[in-house]
Every structure is written in structure tokens, then in C-alpha cells.
């Protein structure tokens, strides 16, 4: 296992080797400042506007998969063995515009044009995956792309029409697929990569055991999977994070195991990678899943990262806690398992010892007598951080509530169970009165903050109303829709 200090990747059609890449050099700065590929734009440097959207192709179990990512918060050093595709690479047959580009022109999809390259890249990724999308699928693909000029209507029309402009099978990335995969295969590291100076060092372990070894050597290292949060520490807060251990390439952390009673997900599995199994095993999370960030962030961000960073407003912890999830923490010393709710000790403090990393999440599958729901409240429906998020899991036997696990995000310094509300439910008959009592009990469970996302008053009110919604939605006697998604 020879250690190397360089990374290799394919940029459009050029093979590139970068010696000593700094850990915090973003893909966007690399493209714009070092390669002068200025088609990719910086709009926010926090992964929220999508003007910097590029495709990253990577080998997953030997299969080449392309995904949109935000170049502004993606670190170059994490892209060893990947294919980076920028707007400059798009071309149609015979020197014409690419089908996506031509449709955007024909439907007047650009005005100021600054968001346009990013939007073209998102629509390109969508078209390759699905050249006959529904309006809803287009909207989902564009969750991570802001346009301030057009109001989106012409862009949606272009996206719906692009299938008629050309077939993805004839696109360069399809035609050259085998060659590209072979090239990337040849670029995979055979040993640990250590690059960059001491104060900005990037380490890419060769496997999970090596990750444990690296953390043994550098217990205070910053572990980075999708960089969707840590990226902002660098681009917005100028925070030193060296040494950085990148783990997004580790196949062992990307396993998904579904059994009759348990879903286990590797900590390195992205939201997008988990999407199918979530829909299958935990269908009540389907709609919720689509509302976690935007497409680019779901392509980068991992469930493990969402948990490990300990945010009080992460989208997955409340719903996972309500399901009774447990996590595995691993280190040189071995592995241990803790209930997820016990992992969050206080604001900014988690039960993760130096040298440990979260390696997997284990989610018990709902039982037949269990009713589950997940709700998220935010100022804007899509690509917004929740003001309040809740996972509700209620067990009902013969019209009696025999169990309740309710966990909220946005209501306290950590994702937290509503013990008093649970108490109000357990033992009560399934009824509006029981849920009213639970809603009122929330005032004893939580004293939320007022901030720019919501006032304390609204948080408490809406948190209670979500319990009332849960009752209405699952109550046989209730007629009519109980929420917007139902109509």
C-alpha cells in the first residue's frame, strides 16, 4: 500500500494529476481560478443557489454514476478517480448546441444568464436519468437551483421538451462511458492519499480500517463525507479544519442492508443513494426525503454526516429517533452501538470519542400496529432548513395507544424526544382528546428559541398542531384532506 501525495481525475476530456492538493481548495475555485473554466459561477458559496452546479461521475461498485454537485462546497481533494463535467463540456452533434442548451434557448429559459449554466447542468443530469420527466420531477431536479429572473416557467417548459431534442443514448457521456469508466478505474488509489501542507492537509484513507488508523493518528481530524456542512465552515466562516479526512470514496461505508425487521445504512450513504430503499422500507419518509435540501446536496450529503455533526436542526435525526434507530461508532478500539437519541448530549456535544467515527445507522422497520409519520415545517417548502421537524411513531392496539416515540428538531439544543407528550399518549384511547393533551404537554417538553426561521410562539404552536394533524391523517372518522400534500 504505497502512500501517494497526489490526486488524479478526469476534467471534461483531460486527465489531470494534482500534486499536494490543499484540503480546503474548493472545486469551484479550482475550476475558475486555476483552470479558467469560468462557465461555472459562484452565486452563494454555500450550496444553496446552484449556479456552480457541475456533474461528478464516480465509480460505485464498478458502475459509473454521474450526479450533480455544488462545486462551491465540494473540495477538490475529495475527487480522486472522479470525472468532473462542467458546462464547457456540453456539446451537441456536429458542433450544435446540446439538446438541453437548445431547448433552453428556444423556450427563453435564460434572462440574466448567471444561473443558467448551473440550471443547464441540473437539467442535463435529469435528462440523462429520465428524458421524459413529469413537472414534479423537473421541480425536484431544480430544488437546488435559484433563478431570480424568469420565474422558472420557461425553464420548466424547456425541461419537459428536451427529450424531443435528442436522446441521452447519443450523448457523449453515454457513448464514451466504457472508456471513461476504464480511465477512472485506472485512477483509483491503491493506498492512502496524504496531500497538502500541514495546515491544510487532506487525507484519503484507502479503506475503513485505514480510516480508523488515520483517526488513531489524528484524533482531532475533521471527518468530511459530503462536505455539505463542513464546506460552509471553510467558505463562509474561514475556519481551519486541518487535517481533513475524506471518506466519501469508501465503499465499505456505502453498504445498505435491508432485512425483514431492520434497515442498516452505511454512514457514507448519500441521501440520493438511500432514496430507493427509504421509499421501500420506510414509505412514510418518501415525501420528507424529497424535502431534504436540494438535489445537489442530496447527492453529496450523507445520513451519517447529518447525524455525526450534531446539528439541532438536521432533518434525519428526529425521524430516525422516532423509529428507534441506533448507530455504530467505530475506532481502532473496536465498535460500539448507541441509541441515536443518546448520541446527542447537548448543543455542539455528541457521544463521539476522539478517534471514533459513525460507521452505520440501524433503523428498525415499523411493526404492523405502528403508525409513523414525518413532518417538516419551513418558510419555503423545498430546499430550506426546518423551523420544526418531527418524527412520530405511535403504536396502537385495539384503539388504545400502547407506545409513542415522538422526536422533534428545531425545538431544543439537540434533536429531542417529547417525553411529556409521549406520556400523555401512552395508555390513552386513540382520540382527538389524547392528541390535544399531547400537544399541550409540549410546553413542558420544550422552550424553543425565536430566530429568523420561526418565533418560539410559532414553533410551539405548530409542533402541537402537527400532533393534531397526525391524528386527523390517521383517524378513520376524519373526512377531507388534513394537509397540502393530500390535495
Amino acid at each position: 500500500m504505497a502512500q501517494q501525495n497526489h490526486i488524479r481525475f478526469l476534467l471534461n476530456d483531460t486527465e489531470i494529476t494534482v500534486e499536494g492538493a490543499k484540503a480546503t481548495l474548493t472545486l469551484l475555485d479550482y475550476l475558475r481560478l486555476e483552470r479558467r473554466l469560468t462557465g461555472t459561477k459562484e452565486g452563494c458559496a454555500e450550496g444553496d443557489c446552484g449556479a456552480c452546479t457541475v456533474l461528478v461521475g464516480r465509480l460505485a461498485n464498478g458502475v459509473l454514476r454521474y450526479e450533480t454537485v455544488n462545486a462551491c462546497i465540494r473540495f477538490l481533494a475529495s475527487l480522486n478517480g472522479c470525472h468532473i463535467v462542467t458546462i464547457e463540456h456540453l456539446r451537441g452533434e456536429g458542433g450544435a448546441l446540446h439538446p438541453v442548451q437548445q431547448a433552453m434557448v428556444d423556450f427563453h429559459g435564460s434572462q440574466c444568464g448567471f444561473c443558467t449554466p448551473g440550471i443547464v447542468m441540473s437539467l442535463y443530469a435529469l435528462w440523462m436519468e429520465n428524458s421524459d420527466p413529469s413537472v414534479g420531477q423537473v421541480e425536484t431536479a431544480l430544488q437546488g437551483n435559484l433563478c431570480r429572473c424568469t420565474g422558472y416557467e420557461p425553464i420548466i417548459k424547456a425541461a419537459l421538451a428536451v427529450g424531443a431534442y435528442g436522446s441521452p443514448a447519443r450523448d457523449a457521456l453515454s457513448v464514451e462511458r466504457e472508456t471513461i469508466a476504464a480511465t477512472l478505474n485506472g485512477m483509483q488509489a491503491t493506498g492512502r492519499i496524504v496531500a497538502g501542507p500541514q495546515d491544510d492537509m487532506a487525507i484519503l484513507p484507502v479503506d475503513a480500517a485505514d480510516l480508523a488508523a488515520v483517526l488513531g493518528e489524528y484524533p482531532e481530524a475533521t471527518i468530511v463525507a459530503g462536505a455539505t456542512d463542513v464546506g460552509l465552515w471553510v467558505t463562509k466562516f474561514l475556519k481551519p479544519i486541518s487535517p481533513v479526512v475524506f471518506i466519501n470514496h469508501l465503499e465499505e461505508l456505502k453498504t445498505i442492508d435491508l432485512s425483514a425487521d431492520m434497515l442498516s445504512i452505511g454512514a457514507g450513504v448519500t441521501y440520493s443513494e438511500a432514496e430507493n430503499v427509504i421509499r421501500e422500507a420506510l414509505p412514510h419518509l418518501s415525501e420528507y426525503w424529497d424535502r431534504i435540501a436540494g438535489w445537489q446536496v442530496r447527492n453529496m450529503g450523507t445520513i451519517g454526516g447529518n447525524i455525526a455533526n450534531g446539528s439541532p436542526i438536521g432533518d434525519t435525526p428526529p425521524v430516525l429517533i422516532s423509529l428507534g434507530a441506533r448507530i455504530t461508532l467505530q475506532s481502532m478500539e473496536g465498535a460500539r452501538e448507541v441509541p441515536l437519541e443518546a448520541y446527542f448530549i447537548d448543543y455542539g456535544k455528541q457521544d463521539r470519542k476522539a478517534g471514533e467515527f459513525v460507521s452505520a445507522i440501524h433503523i428498525p422497520r415499523p411493526k404492523a400496529n405502528q403508525i409513523d409519520a414525518a413532518y417538516k415545517i419551513s418558510k419555503r417548502r423545498d430546499e430550506d432548513i426546518s423551523a420544526v421537524a418531527v418524527g412520530i411513531s405511535v403504536t396502537v392496539d385495539a384503539a388504545q395507544i400502547t407506545g409513542a416515540r415522538i422526536a422533534y428538531g428545531g425545538m431544543a439544543a439537540t434533536p429531542k424526544r417529547a417525553a411529556k407528550a409521549e406520556d400523555a399518549l401512552v395508555g390513552a384511547a386513540w382520540s382527538a382528546a389524547a392528541f390535544d393533551a399531547a400537544a399541550r404537554a409540549l410546553a413542558e417538553d420544550f422552550a424553543p428559541l425565536s430566530d429568523w426561521r420561526a418565533s418560539a410562539e410559532y414553533r410551539l404552536l405548530v409542533a402541537g398542531n402537527l400532533l393534531r394533524r397526525f391524528h386527523l391523517e390517521h383517524d378513520a372518522a376524519h373526512e377531507g384532506p388534513a394537509r397540502l400534500a393530500a390535495v
Binding site: 452563494c44 442548451q101 448567471f114 431544480l142 435559484l146 431570480r148 422558472y152 416557467e153 430550506d384 404552536l461
Partner: protein, 777 residues
């Protein structure tokens, strides 16, 4: 000539934006994409971390010592005048010397070898100051005795006291209207390249190159002729680049001249949003008297605005709020006053509509109040109060301009029909009566918007056209391209004038070297002004070509006609480029500067009387929403729009403006919230915290039509009307529909008084309030 094809790209044709192909390929060049010359340095602003303080000193030693730092600029480095106030009030220093007036105010600039180094160093200053009490909103600022930033305006007509005296009903209330960040995708940027003598060239993203030029000259202490400002295109402007680039241009130019090296400055998104102005928030206190039919007898209103620490454009913005506080309605007796309130916040500025939307939304609140008080459909109240057509006694505005071109009645009638408003409203009322968790609302709201700069001298424009001897045409004008398609429209006008294909015309960057003393591309006036100026230039060259053609062929000038890509001279048809070549050989002058000034307008601000607007643009929107009364979440189910652009220069571009403006207006009134904490710090300062609409927020059904029968009765360019700002106001239909849905929980007996932005939180809290008030009965 009937067999000859028409030219490509004449006016009225929906040709794509001239940069569309470049934009989709990522090859359209923005300021940050310009190749940097060797030795380029990067500047970054160091800012205050308190909202109000007496500044004692700034210790910059750690900044200077930081890696990569080349220099630090403070107020002491300013060779000319330390001021970038766009209205000449000298209240906006580049860097303050004694007072910090808002959180995030620029105090100095670091210049370093890289932008990253400059950013990091800018954090290292030690600021010694005495913190003072601060006020961030107009009400608390007034209570604290803070001054106005500029003279208020009063508009008065009729006898307000007797109007109220005779009115059967009277309602007073207060509306709090939130501001809005521009959230242009391309942030502020300036890139200065020093030249010989006093010269400096500044590439930047601005709607107002001439102002940037004059400001740079003013700060450098050099004449304007030493400064060149260039703008090829902006990645969005929306008013946020009308005056806000002054500081960035001045800093880049100062550094470039001091150090003799090119200097670029580009704030990150957070600094862009905290250190540049926004749409003005307003607190409106209104008092309206009306009769049993809902007809208004008298209106009194005070419009207090969060102007920020300096005047910037707050004077004309608050003026325009008053000019639009009538929307499309006749107020027989009216008194409107503005209160441009100083606050300890960033100085607010122009934003699409320029105060007009805030005036209109207040007018619509009063309409709602009347409707709820009388138990009627707000649309009925709207109709009862529409202006007349100029021939009656109901056509005079509060500023004593007669509305002569009113088409709002027809627009509203047609939209009511095409949107099936009455039947849908009836169905919604019936459905809401069932008392479900989800409630619906529908509203049809009109817009009348005055077109012209109220600063009358701004209504002028210039253009420059060269016809080269190969027949290719170079077009330049004083307007700037920010996505609205101005360059495309102006080129269409020129193509049509010469009867040549659109692609024969090269559209070039806006530069102060070619057209001097331009006005901001603002007030929706871009095509009106620059289209006419370009047409004037084209007509001058054409006249010379006609004279030459007639003389050379010995025919009368009336026998010379420009036909598609050719010129007919008597019986002879000559290709355009052949005639141009001939004309060149005969020493005909093939270049012309065009000029235009808007006729008929005048305004006496002191008297509050005049004709500030050349004409009005009209439109209406009908929106249906559904709200969740448990959470306040909502969705826009359908929107129908009928908008008046006169005879459209380019229907596709105009429709794009209407759709985009509507969504932006909807965002202003729904999810876009500016939130300051107790320390006076803006906490919604990037797209992660400040939420503009996404694709999934647009109406589920969205029908947008232009009123194809409309023609500007004034002699505007091709009888078109301005389109940039008016449709922004159509977003109010969403707010009013939300209001109806909320009102349903109290059987429409209580006006919800939904303040803006109507976030899910405000909607839910209004639902709760109405349930309580409705129960009290």
C-alpha cells in the same frame, strides 16, 4: 417587393435574448470572468460588528501583517471626497471617520495578492468604539427621535376633513410591509485597471455606469473624463445595482491608482447582502372613509420607511410609494405623507417598483378593509373605485395628473372572464364553509403603474451607431443589460429601421466612452428611452443614405425605400451593404449619435403637482391559494395574468418579464423575510436563510397573457409600454388570496390584516387571531 422575405428579428417578433446561446454554453462573460492581467490584486472590505457607535480608532496592524496583504485603505487614503451619495447629499462616506451607523458597515479595505488572503486579513482588525443605542425599524427609530434622511413628501387634494365627515364608514389601521433583498445571482463586483495620468478603467456590474464614473472621479478627485466604466452585462440587477456599486467601484479604483496594479473587489454573498441596500420596509398608517357601496370618500395615509443610515435613493423611493398609494383607484379627498426614517441599518435603495409596490399593497389593504367591513367581494370594491378615463371628474390623481389612458376596466373584465373568477370564488366559499383543515382563497388585483423617472432630467438617453463600410452595424446605447433583453429590443428597433437582419447588428458593452451622461437603466425605462435614442441615430444615418442614393441615381428622396436587406432606389434594388460601400466611397458620414428626451412631463415636488408620468402601464392578476390552518403552510394553485405592454417589441421577452416579476413579487410578499436580531444584525443574509421562490413555488397552473389589443396612446417606441416593474406588483394577488383563505375561519367578518411577508408563521398566527376574534363575534 412582396416576394422578398421579411428581415429576421424585426420588432414584434419573439426572437431569443441576444446572449441566450452564450449563456447556455457558459460563455457569456460577466465581470468576474474577465481575464485578469498579471499583477492583479484583490480587495475585501472590513466591516463593523456593532450597529451604532462612536468610532475611536481602528488598529490595522494585524491586518497589514497578515500573509499576502499588500495594503490597507482607510478614509485617510481617499484622494478626493469621502462620499458616494447618489443624490449629492454627502451622507454616505466610502469609509466613516467618526460614526458607525449599522452592523456590517464597511470601515476599510484590505488589498492582497489573493481574494482569500484579503478576506482572511479583513477579519483581523481591532475596532475601538463607544457603542451607542440603535434602532433598526422605522417605528422604534421615530420613538428614539432619529431624524429623517431626506425631506418628506405630501400629496394632497380635495378636502380630507369634510370627506371623512360625510363618509358613512371609516376604518383606520396599520400595515407593516417587509423589505426585500435583490438576491441577484451575480453579486456586486468591480475590477479597476489603472492607466496613465489620472486614468482608470472600471469593469463592473452596474445599472448606472455614468453614476459609477462620476462617483469614482469624485472619490479620486479627478475629472470624469479620466474614468471609464464598462458593463457588458449583469447577472441580475433589479435596482440593487443602481447606486450600490458606487462604493465597490470607488474602492477598486482607489486601490488600483494607489498601487498601480489592477484591483478586483467582490464581496461574498453574506457581505453583499449585509453591506448593500434593499427594498424599503414600510409601516403604513391608513385611514379610509367610504359609503355603503364601498366607494371611497377620503383617504389619509402616512408611509414611514426604513431608509437606513443615509438617504441613498430613499427620497424618490418614498415619493413613488405615495404616487402609487392610489393604485388604480380615485380618492376624492386625499392626504398622503411620507416619512423617510433614518434607521441603524444598511441604507435602503432601489428595487423593482421603487416604492410603488409598497404604495399599491397599502391601497389594496384599504380595499380589503372596506370589503370585510361591508361583507362584499373585494373585487366589487375595486371596481367601484376605479379611475375614470380622463373625461370625467374621477380621473385626477393625488398628484394632480389626469389619468387619460385608463384601460384597467377592460383588463379586469377580461381577466375575470378568462380566469372564471366568479364561479371559482363561489365554489371556494362553499368549500370553505365545510370547515376543513385546508382553506382556499382567490383574489383578482389590478395594477396601474406610472412610467417615467420622477426626477424629470433622468428621462433622457443617448445612442451611438456606426455603419461600417462592409455593411455591418455597431450598436451602442446608454442602457445596461441585466437580463431583461434591452439590448435585444433596441437591436430589433435598429434592424427594423435599416431593414436588415438582426444578426447584422453587433451589440456592444455599455461604456461611458461612447454615450455620456446616461441615466440608470431603471424605472422600467430602458427600452422607452434607449430604443428611441437608437432609432434617432439610425434615422440620421438613413437620411444621409437616402440623400446619397437619391442624388447618385438622380431620383427624388421619396423614391428611396429601405426594404429587407436592400434599398430600393427608383426601380433599382441595391443590397444594403453595396449601398453602404458606395456611400462610404462617396464620403458619406456613416456614424451618428442619437438622443431622446421624454416629452410632456413636469413635476413640482414642493407643490405636489404636475405630470410626473408620461403614461401608465396596467395589468391584473388572479391567484388562488390553499392554506393549511394547522401549520400556516400554503400553495399557489393557479394564477392568471393579463398584462398591458402596449404593442410589444418582443412578446417572448415581455412575457418573460411578466412571469419573472410576478414570481419575484410573490416572493417579496410570502417567503422572503429580512430578520434583524437585537444586536441590529441582519440574520437572513444568504440563500440558506433568505428564501426566494423556487421552481416548486410557482403556481401549479400559470396562465400569462399580454393584452394584445393595447397600444400606447403616447408616441413611445413602436407604441410599446414599459414592462420591467409593473408586473412585479401583480404578486399582490397571492397575498390577497391568502388573506381571503385566512378570513374564512371567521366567516369573512374580520379583516385578517396580514402583514408581509406572509410567511407560514404569519398565516398561522393570523388564523389563530381570527378564530379568537371571530368567536368573540
Amino acid at each position: 417587393m412582396k416576394d422578398r422575405q421579411d428581415i429576421r428579428g424585426a420588432t414584434r417578433h419573439s426572437i431569443p435574448h441576444d446572449s441566450a446561446a452564450k449563456q447556455v454554453m457558459g460563455r457569456a462573460e460577466y465581470t468576474d470572468d474577465i481575464a485578469e492581467p498579471a499583477g492583479t490584486l484583490h480587495a475585501y472590505l472590513g466591516v463593523s460588528d456593532v450597529a451604532h457607535a462612536r468610532l475611536r480608532s481602528i488598529d490595522l496592524s494585524a491586518v497589514r501583517a497578515a500573509p499576502g496583504v499588500v495594503d490597507v485603505l482607510t478614509a485617510a487614503d481617499i484622494p478626493g471626497v469621502n462620499d458616494v451619495s447618489p443624490t449629492g447629499r454627502h451622507d454616505e462616506p466610502v469609509f466613516p471617520t467618526d460614526a458607525i451607523e449599522y452592523h456590517g458597515q464597511p470601515l476599510f479595505a484590505v488589498v492582497a495578492e489573493t481574494r482569500d488572503a484579503a478576506r482572511r486579513a479583513a477579519e483581523l482588525a481591532k475596532i475601538d468604539c463607544e457603542v451607542l443605542p440603535h434602532a433598526t425599524d422605522p417605528v422604534s427609530a421615530r420613538d428614539a427621535g432619529m431624524p429623517l434622511v431626506t425631506d418628506p413628501l405630501k400629496l394632497e387634494r380635495g378636502d380630507v376633513a369634510s370627506g371623512f365627515g360625510k363618509a358613512a364608514h371609516r376604518v383606520t389601521g396599520r400595515m407593516v410591509i417587509g423589505g426585500q433583498d435583490h438576491m441577484y445571482l451575480e453579486g456586486q463586483i468591480a475590477f479597476a485597471v489603472p492607466g496613465e495620468d489620472d486614468d482608470v478603467v472600471v469593469h463592473c456590474s452596474t445599472q448606472h455606469p455614468s453614476e459609477a464614473q462620476h462617483m469614482v472621479a469624485h472619490v479620486l478627485g479627478v475629472p470624469s473624463n479620466a474614468v471609464v466604466v464598462n458593463v457588458r452585462r449583469m447577472g441580475g440587477g433589479f435596482g440593487g445595482k443602481e447606486s450600490q456599486m458606487n462604493l465597490f467601484c470607488a474602492v477598486a479604483a482607489m486601490a488600483a491608482k494607489k498601487l498601480g496594479r489592477p484591483v478586483k473587489i467582490r464581496p461574498d454573498r453574506d457581505q453583499d447582502m449585509t453591506a448593500t441596500g434593499k427594498r424599503h420596509d414600510f409601516v403604513v398608517d391608513y385611514d379610509v372613509g367610504f359609503d355603503d357601496t364601498g366607494r371611497i370618500a377620503a383617504v389619509e395615509g402616512e408611509f414611514a420607511a426604513r431608509c437606513g443610515y443615509s438617504s441613498d435613493l430613499s427620497g424618490p423611493v418614498t415619493d413613488r410609494a405615495l404616487f402609487h398609494a392610489d393604485n388604480a383607484y380615485f380618492y376624492p379627498n386625499v392626504r398622503l405623507t411620507s416619512r423617510p426614517q433614518k434607521t441603524n441599518t444598511v441604507s435602503n435603495t432601489a428595487f423593482r417598483g421603487f416604492g410603488g409596490p409598497q404604495g399599491v399593497v397599502a391601497a389594496e389593504r384599504m380595499i380589503e378593509e372596506i370589503a370585510f367591513a361591508l361583507g362584499k367581494d373585494p373585487l366589487e370594491i375595486r371596481r367601484a373605485n376605479f379611475y375614470g378615463d380622463g373625461s370625467d371628474d374621477r380621473s385626477l390623481t393625488p398628484y394632480h395628473q389626469t389619468v387619460e389612458d385608463n384601460v384597467i376596466g377592460r383588463i379586469v373584465d377580461e381577466l375575470e372572464d378568462s380566469a372564471d373568477y366568479q364561479a371559482r370564488r363561489k365554489a371556494i366559499v362553499e368549500e370553505n364553509a365545510k370547515g376543513g383543515v385546508l382553506r382556499r382563497g382567490i383574489a383578482l388585483t389590478p395594477v396601474k403603474f406610472g412610467i417615467s423617472f420622477t426626477a424629470t432630467w433622468y428621462n433622457q438617453a443617448g445612442a451611438l451607431i456606426h455603419v461600417y463600410n462592409d455593411g455591418s452595424i455597431h450598436l451602442n446605447h446608454g442602457g445596461t443589460e441585466m437580463g431583461q433583453g434591452l439590448n435585444t429590443k433596441v437591436a430589433q428597433v435598429v434592424a427594423e429601421a435599416f431593414q436588415v437582419d438582426f444578426d447584422r447588428i453587433k451589440i456592444t458593452k455599455t461604456t461611458t466612452e461612447k454615450v455620456p451622461n446616461t441615466s440608470a437603466t431603471a424605472a422600467s425605462s430602458g427600452s422607452d428611452l434607449n430604443g428611441m435614442a437608437a432609432l434617432d441615430a439610425a434615422e440620421q444615418i438613413k437620411a444621409r443614405l437616402v440623400q446619397f442614393a437619391a442624388e447618385s441615381r438622380g431620383v427624388g428622396e421619396d423614391a428611396v425605400r429601405f426594404v429587407p436587406n436592400h434599398v430600393q432606389i427608383g426601380d433599382e434594388v441595391v443590397a444594403f451593404d453595396a449601398l453602404v460601400k458606395e456611400a462610404y466611397m462617396a464620403r458619406v458620414h456613416l456614424s451618428a449619435a442619437g438622443f431622446y428626451k421624454t416629452p410632456k412631463i413636469h413635476w413640482d415636488r414642493a407643490a405636489g403637482k404636475g405630470r410626473p408620468f408620461y403614461y401608465y402601464a396596467y395589468g391584473a392578476a388572479c391567484s388562488e391559494v390553499v392554506i393549511d390552518t394547522l401549520t400556516g403552510e400554503y400553495r399557489v394553485e393557479r394564477t392568471d395574468i393579463l398584462h398591458d405592454v402596449g404593442r410589444s417589441l418582443n412578446p417572448a421577452l415581455d412575457k418573460g418579464q411578466v412571469e419573472g416579476a410576478f414570481i419575484q413579487g410573490m416572493g417579496w410578499l410570502t417567503t422572503e423575510e429580512l430578520w434583524w436580531d437585537d444586536a441590529g444584525r441582519l440574520r437572513t443574509h444568504a440563500p440558506s436563510t433568505y428564501k426566494i421562490p423556487l421552481a416548486s413555488d410557482r403556481p401549479r397552473v400559470f396562465n400569462v397573457e399580454l393584452a394584445d389589443w393595447s397600444e400606447n396612446r403616447e408616441m413611445t417606441i413602436k407604441r410599446s409600454k414599459a414592462v420591467g416593474e409593473p408586473p412585479f406588483i401583480l404578486g399582490i394577488a397571492v397575498l390577497e388570496a391568502l388573506s381571503m383563505a385566512v378570513a374564512s375561519v371567521a366567516d369573512y367578518k374580520v379583516c385578517p390584516r396580514l402583514d408581509t411577508p406572509a410567511t407560514p408563521e404569519r398565516v398561522l398566527l393570523a388564523v389563530e387571531r381570527l378564530r379568537t376574534e371571530g368567536a368573540r363575534g
